[in-house]
Symmetry: C2
Subunit: 118 residues, 2 copies
């Protein structure tokens, strides 16, 4: 539970930056070398590499050096953990609304019952 918590901390923190989200957006279309990830960003290569480090620490991105080129790829299962957490909250919320709807229907039904009695 604590590990899971720390994982989600890192995961959501990693996604809380536009440069890092831009990297994830690019990588969800396929693997890319670091230079290609850094090019569109308004920052130096070392600054981009730091952001990449945050994504790697969170487990969202892995990279491998082949020859002189470091290529990055997304880890979709890790990214999905964040999606699943939010999804679970939405399901709970919707269930609550369903229960509320059922309850209101029950009240309506009781109201009808009383109405026919008077």
């Amino acid at each position: 539970m604590l590990n899971q918590s720390t994982g989600l901390d890192r995961l959501f923190h990693a996604l809380a930056d536009p440069a890092r989200r831009a990297m994830v957006e690019r990588l969800s279309r396929g693997p890319a070398p670091v230079s290609e990830l850094a090019r569109p960003l308004p920052m130096s290569l070392p600054a981009a590499m730091q952001h990449l480090g945050v994504l790697e620490a969170a487990g969202i991105v892995r990279s491998a050096k082949i020859g002189r080129v470091r290529t990055c790829a997304i880890e979709p299962e890790v990214l999905s953990q964040a999606e699943q957490w939010i999804n679970a909250r939405r399901i709970e919320w919707e269930r609550r609304l369903d229960r509320l709807g059922d309850y209101l229907k029950t009240l309506e039904g009781e109201g009808d019952g009383n109405g026919s009695g008077t």
Copy 2:
């Protein structure tokens, strides 16, 4: 686009803390007074109120004071924005895998064609 970016920054940052996620978990089961949100957390009430402030700034939670009690509720549409961003990445990723699969099938087909020729 910039506004959207800032919104997602705040949204993901708000979710990157276990105390704030615990509050969102509680509120997805229904509205609650601040005191109830703070009670299970291993921190002072002022510290819990600060976390609540981060959730409110991100738009995930709204609160209203009725008499002497401040009651909080979740804003599911705002929370959904974070889910949608991750969801869009997953869809792109899965499309890429589909295209890759189609491409591999094409190669297989070409292989068969060559095979029958020899």
